[in-house]
């Protein structure tokens, strides 16, 4: 099988890689580019652990071919913090203990970021519906919702 050459943008950097036609973007990120933050929970679009943002929309990278990233802009969890300065969502997840084992966390953070990018003041219901494609077996979701609300408030400049 001949490899496909792909040029794309990941977290603002120009990236080039070779991949197989049937290789998913998730596998490319993890196995070829060493970006291990995106997790594989199911591989079938059900759990959201592999969530990445592609051209502004959050998608399951397990349901995207590596070849489809050509010419697109991809954001992964590795690009969320600004150097050593955590994103408000990351800080609030820690403060609210919104993670235990952490497998689901990168996916939740990317999905929540995509939400706050388009809706800085979501209601609790909007947060819960938006995150319905992200599964967590540890936290019971409540702490995650609180953390997203607190991060949204902080990002709006309100005291949390």
């Amino acid at each position: 099988m001949s490899s496909i050459a792909v040029s794309t943008t990941i977290n603002g950097d120009d990236v080039e890689y070779l991949c197989q036609a049937d290789e998913t973007l998730l596998d490319v990120l993890r196995n070829r580019l060493g970006l291990m933050g995106s997790k594989e929970g199911c591989g079938t679009g059900d759990c959201g652990a592999c969530s990445t943002i592609m051209d502004g929309r959050v998608v399951c990278s397990c349901l995207v071919l590596g070849a489809e990233a050509q010419g697109r802009s991809i954001e992964t969890i590795e690009g969320m913090a600004n150097g050593s300065e955590l994103h408000p969502l990351q800080t609030k997840f820690i403060e609210h203990a919104a993670l235990q084992c952490g497998i689901c966390t990168p996916g939740f953070l990317m999905a929540a970021k995509a939400l706050l990018d388009v809706n800085p003041e979501p209601t609790e219901e909007e947060i819960r519906f938006w995150l319905a494609g992200n599964l967590c077996r540890c936290t019971g979701y409540d702490k995650i919702v609180r953390a997203v609300q607190a991060a949204a408030a902080e990002m709006r400049g309100e005291a949390a």
């Binding site: 099988m1 496909i4 197989q20 036609a21 049937d22 998913t24 591989g43 079938t44 679009g45 059900d46 959201g48 969530s51 592609m54 929309r57 959050v58 998608v59 399951c60 397990c62 349901l63 995207v64 071919l65 070849a67 489809e68 050509q70 999905a111 995509a114 939400l115 519906f129 938006w130 995150l131 319905a132 494609g133 992200n134």
Partner: protein, 287 residues
């Protein structure tokens, strides 16, 4: 497997026409990539249609909305004019999967995957949506209900691609709605789905109506017997009773862990009543 990303619809149909039978169109990939995970699944060729000019656009003309086959369902919900004209279709499309799935899935893919439980399809059928198909012999347009022929099977010939789904601009006094029953509130497959689209006459009675049922037969089906029960009425109780009975009678569902035959038949009637009332209200009707 070979991956191709043609830039014209002609190149795309030619690639598919020349390939073996294991060649697939790739739109949002939310069905196709799940299938590809299966060891028994063989694809020799995948043709990604997202780089074809115009495929990712919703175009509003004087009399219609043309939804390109690569438009993700999330973008339908962001299109104000489409939401105002066809709220039922947009709501149905936006029920598919999660936020992540919405960013990728398409209504044409939902249709071509040919699941009897496909959420957008009953709404499209009720809305009398048309599929514009490009193939090696040119373009043809068919009613959406003529695409699925059985679970996972379509009437598309080798080399044919749905280029766009076309919705006519609705008349003034008309409305549409789609409702589904699932055991959870999100992320589940419809146990029953019902789409209703109706138009009122000057007296505020139903002039014409289309009812489509999902997940209660081998394909999504248009149900003219059910539609007839509403013509000339203002959705009085007796008319709604007749509608529900006709929908239950037309349903030939399977029995599985997600719903028994009796349950699905009854729910088809209940949802049809509720969807009809929503469509009636949207059409500006009052009882």
């Amino acid at each position: 497997m070979r991956y191709e990303r043609p830039e014209t619809i002609m190149d795309a149909t030619a690639l598919l026409a020349q390939a073996s039978d294991s060649a697939f169109v790739l739109a949002g990939g939310t069905d196709l990539l799940v299938k590809m995970q299966n060891d028994d699944f063989e694809a020799e060729l995948v043709v990604d249609i997202k780089s074809i000019a115009g495929m990712a656009d919703v175009v509003e003309t004087d009399d219609s909305f043309v939804i390109g086959a690569a438009v993700p369902c999330a973008a339908l919900g962001e299109h104000e004019a489409l939401c105002a004209a066809w709220p039922g279709v947009v709501e149905a499309a936006n029920l598919i999967g999660s936020t992540q799935i919405q960013g990728r899935c398409t209504v044409a893919g939902n249709l071509c995957n040919a699941s009897p439980a496909a959420d957008s399809v009953p709404a499209l059928v009720a809305a009398n949506a048309q599929a514009r198909i490009a193939g090696p012999d040119g373009i043809r347009t068919v009613a959406v209900e003529d695409i699925p022929t059985g679970p996972g099977k379509t009437s598309l010939a080798k080399g044919e691609i749905i280029e766009a789904i076309v919705l006519a601009k609705p008349t003034d006094r008309s409305g549409d709605a789609y409702l589904r029953f699932i055991p959870r509130t999100e992320m589940d497959i419809a146990v029953v789905g019902v789409g209703v689209c109706l138009a009122l006459n000057d007296d505020g009675a139903v002039a014409s109506v289309r009812v489509a049922l999902g997940a209660v037969g081998p394909t999504v089906m248009l149900c003219p017997e059910a539609a007839e029960t509403l013509v000339g009425t203002k959705l009085e109780d007796a008319a709604l009773e007749a509608l529900a009975a006709a929908c239950s009678a037309a349903s030939t569902p399977i029995d599985d862990k997600r719903g028994t035959v009796d349950f699905r038949k009854q729910v088809a009637g209940v949802l049809a009543r509720r969807a009809a009332l929503i469509a009636f209200e949207r059409a500006g009707g009052s009882q």
